[in-house]
Symmetry: C2
Subunit: 452 residues, 2 copies
């Protein structure tokens, strides 16, 4: 029952496009979901994708527009006059999607597009939504919802719902408000169906509901919908008046995006790239963090140059440079990732800083002890230098403790400064810990070799 | 309107628990969602959490049980007799949740618990669901759903829905089947409300729906629900008979879990830990990958030992060991992460292996060229050794290309072997690339210093 994007399908479609077989193409597209069509367009050449897109009718075309990558959408809309954007796309969209599209346009075009929208109420909704921050609940919500007054009966409700329902694709909840528009609760359609038509809404609705204000950050919105297993979440203003609703599908996108952002950060990729992208985006996504790695490597070379004397006297000391650097990097990434994951999951942390410090120190101490003992045993049996054995174990011990604390507290501090803590995962922490690890190792190494 | 877990709240609650003020505790818990109570229990001591839990009534207690971490749940259930598990917990749960709980029990207890369930239909549902693989759509779905026959009228439907609706919390869709139970389509409640009671269902339902079979893997289920913005997805057997439904909240959990698993893998953590966990789980989660890092470091030391002669003749060569190792590690992690992300997003890849290889090679070539030129320029101006300048640039060039291809193809091969490709991100790839990078560098270094 699902569409599967196969090589054979794409080849057949390319043939049809080559032959300009409009009727057959339209027939195939009619059966497909907008998300599938967007996926197909992604593997076609630009010319083929354009031709295909022009065969779609208004509603499908605007659905597909919402599914294609943002950069492609921007480029496509740039080529269109404002009245086409307004009447062939925006008019068909829910207010939340329409806002996303309008926001992508240049400012002077935005105004023209808004003026061209024929449905004034729709245009008004979009203008209202444009006021909110893109990453807030206000920027995420749609205005299309079904609301009823608490003083109505089930019969009035059903009638009102059929009036309001036209503009809403799918009704999951009916929102109940008072005369002032203040959100009082929700009513499931199940309740409406199962109750007598004379029953009063005020006796039926569920007042124990979750809501957020227009100011709430999207990550918190996602955490609430996830935590309480909701399908939709109402959004209210500062005095509790119902302003819109956010549906779970938008939240899935946020969860995916936030997770991907953190994943990219820890793996040193900038931007959302996939193997199927072209060569240049793939290369560009790698260069920034590698450049930082290069600078770190150069700094490391300078640190070692300071110890050129030691290195030429005792070349053995170089053997464990990779081990110290790798352990410092790995420990640092582990620590910072745990912090970032904790912050992302929205876990409330009610521990005091001193308790946190004590705990991190204990974890680091045990880890450091385990690995410095292990490497001590190895070197004791396999290395012919007692100085080297002591140096490596002592340095590894200090480096692990240092890298753990550094990896834990840098993201915590960034988070307090309202900077994305994920910045402190991946190459940044690896590079810094590498250099500091080297410095500690060379210091301790020279000390032991001079001492013993 | 949301519950906020504050230090003050926890302290007040701990006082009430200390004084055993049952009535006040029950009152506070009555207003809270099960997810909030589980969060509170997590920060209490074991004794306090137990006392609190015992104050909850049956339905709330089983809701909370589903929200607490799996390891705590297992320990808790171990202490209870089968009839208590069956009658105080399982009976209150939807079949999908009940299966999760039963699956956590030891095999001999499972049978006893199933025998103790009074509602035979509920027990039967659970037994059916236990047959499916935990990570398949069958293992994920619930049996509770509302289905109607395509030959009925709206009036019959509404009557039947009120009969079936009791056991279903929330109705999002009504599923339409034929006489043989084969899924034909869905009917929105909106349609039911807005249509005449004599209308026939066969004229109203939407036949264009997505469904999966009981065998579909959970990651694909998640991708389908995400891609098509669904709230629930029906599950059918191999001949299309409706067997159950999966709701979006379960899918959010899967998306989070899969993302977390990949994130942990790339950052070298085993297991789902958060900063708020205790010292031992936090330490244990770090040790396995660090151990592999240690082994890698020892191997690296052995590689360098082979070149002890070169190192003592030309100690300068050691300066760039950290740079080569770091770049090899970073490039490898980038490449493997891009592959893992692409696989996770469910993108269909219809490129041939040779085209893929060519593209990866091009990306690697450009990256390698950029960084070997940069380090050449640096060394040309700041290093007094031309041999070193050549060695570092040439090695970095080869190392980057090698690490890229290695980082790309190892996860692809793992994936083809049905092994989680994320295994090839993080410390494994860093460690392997480190060692190979060192080997390449020392080989090329000795070559240039002997040549020039």
């Amino acid at each position: 029952m699902q569409f599967e994007l196969t090589k054979e399908f794409v080849e057949r479609l390319q043939q049809l496009i080559g032959k300009k077989s409009e009727k057959e193409i339209i027939q195939i597209m009619d059966d497909l979901h907008a998300a599938d069509i967007a996926e197909i367009m992604d593997v076609l050449t630009l010319e083929e994708a354009k031709y295909l897109y022009l065969q779609l009718d208004g509603e499908k075309a605007s659905d597909v527009l919402l599914e294609i990558p943002e950069s492609d959408r921007k480029r496509f809309l740039k080529a269109l006059p404002p009245e086409v954007i307004a009447r062939q796309f925006i008019e068909f969209m829910d207010s939340d999607d329409a806002v996303d599209v309008v926001q992508d346009l240049d400012e002077e075009i935005q105004q023209e597009v808004l003026n061209e929208i024929e449905d004034v109420e729709h245009a008004g909704d979009i203008v209202d939504l444009l006021e909110y921050d893109e990453e807030s609940a206000g920027g995420l919500m749609a205005k299309e919802l079904v609301s009823v007054n608490e003083n109505w009966t089930v019969a009035t409700c059903l009638k009102e719902i059929s009036n309001q329902a036209e503009e809403v694709d799918e009704i999951y909840y009916v929102y109940v408000t008072d005369d002032a528009g203040i959100l009082k609760g929700i009513l499931s359609l199940k309740k409406l169906i199962l109750n007598n038509t004379n029953a009063k809404i005020s006796n039926l609705y569920n007042a124990d509901i979750k809501s957020v204000t227009t100011e709430t950050h999207q990550e918190e919105v996602a955490n609430i919908i996830d935590k309480y297993d909701l399908v939709a979440l109402p959004v209210v203003d500062s005095i509790g008046r119902l302003k819109g609703r956010i549906t779970v599908d938008d939240v899935i996108d946020i969860i995916r995006e936030e997770a991907e952002k953190d994943y990219q950060m820890v793996s040193g990729i900038t931007g959302d790239v996939e193997s199927t992208d072209r060569i240049w985006p793939l290369t560009r996504a790698r260069i920034p963090w590698l450049f930082i790695g290069l600078l770190g490597g150069i700094l490391g070379a300078n640190v070692l140059e300071l110890y050129e004397g030691t290195l030429s006297q005792i070349p053995k000391i170089a053997f464990f440079i990779p081990l110290i650097a790798a352990m410092a990097g790995n420990v640092g990434v582990q620590s910072s990732s745990i912090v970032v994951q904790t912050i992302a999951s929205g876990s409330k942390d009610i521990q005091s800083t001193s308790r946190k410090l004590l705990k991190e120190f204990s974890v680091a101490f045990i880890t450091a002890l385990v690995f410095s003992v292990l490497i001590f045993i190895y070197n004791y049996f396999f290395s012919d230098s007692l100085q080297l054995t002591y140096s490596v174990s002592a340095s590894l011990f200090i480096v692990i403790i240092f890298a753990s604390l550094f990896g834990t507290f840098v993201p915590l501090i960034l988070n307090r400064l309202k900077i994305d803590p994920a910045l402190a995962t991946g190459p940044f922490i690896t590079t810094t810990n590498d250099i500091l690890g080297l410095l500690i190792y060379m210091l301790i190494g020279s000390f032991f070799f001079n001492l013993l």
